[in-house]
Amino acid sequence: MPLKLEYFNLRGAAELSRLILAYADEKYEDCRISFEEWPSKKANTPLGTLPVLTLENGEKLPQSTAISRYLANKFGLAGKSNEEKLLCDMFVETIKVDMWKMVAGVAFEKDPSVKAEKLAEARPKVNDWMQRLEKYVQGSDTVLKSGFSWADIAVFNVVNDLLPVANIQLDPKLTKLHAVVKRGKAQPKIAAWLAKRPVTDL
């Protein structure tokens, strides 16, 4: 039984895992649940949430960042030392917990004037986080000195897939982060996935 990743038909919180799987060229079932079928499926998920990863042994596990880290560990993308793992986790937590909350708030807001307010609040905050992350990029185009890792994929994912939805751009002065994004985009397996993945708003 191959790995199965279930999520909505969105990039959202699952795309980091899909990008890692694409990079690792790992076969998996990319299962997309429609909003209509979700209420009936919800009770059968471990915590009533998506995404859910089903392992080869049938075990089902939720929590998007935990899933991404599992895949990063599995494919040797988590860093070479305990301190490197901490650095990756610091990047991912900033991106997937802090930045995500602010930016998703803008993206999901329907009222245009509230959306504009939320955007005005989010933009400088995101810029501030990005400036701080920029200082922690240790390689010339990778977060870690030891090479490519899931932290690079997380940076690529937030800049390429999330920020534009809220109409936020990465400050051009942050040249190291731009180099990381550029390298991510150019990875052949990632580029191939970007070309073939379903196109969704979020």
Binding site: L47, L61, T65, A66, Y70, N73, E83, L86, M90, E93
Partner: protein, 203 residues
Amino acid sequence: MAIKFEYFDLKGLGELTRYILAYAGADYEDVRIAMDLWPSKKPQTPFGSMPVLTLENGNEYAQGTAIARFFANKYSLAGTTDEERLLADMIVENFRTDAWPLLLKIFLEKDDQKKLELSNDARPKVCDWLKRINDGYVKGTKSVLGSGISWADFALFNFVNDMLPAVNMKLDPELTRLQAVVDSVKAIPQISAWIEKRNDTPV
């Protein structure tokens, strides 16, 4: 230079790391930043946030869960297989990323009516998560992981012992598998000693 762990004078999101360090008997500087000093300290921190970890080599790191996991890895409390690590991460992420913000919002709400509404909204969600974890994800008799004690046990203990009471919630006594883990952690000498000596705070 000893390891330095800086946080507010709270349990909050710092206590999980303090439990791990207490269990490991690690030497470290447990620095507490007073709220009125925070505005001047904030710009000096890596991410304008707490906690901050300073390693022996002088490198500074932010992000509470990342820091806790660093110590879990360092002291072999993270799990013995990739799947165990995933299970521990899942538990920790559910408590700290999903549940804690709901509880914190209740704790900080000053208006009693709004507090009650938030509480009534959060309670079924939290109870549902705890039940599902109890029924499906406690693999040991006294530990979350089948292989024995891990940081997931400390995260659970922190959630039940420190976070739920702050908003007047408690663990459903029917969730006996979770209760067994909580009781087991409480009985660890280093943990009970730490609880005895720490400066207790409301949250």
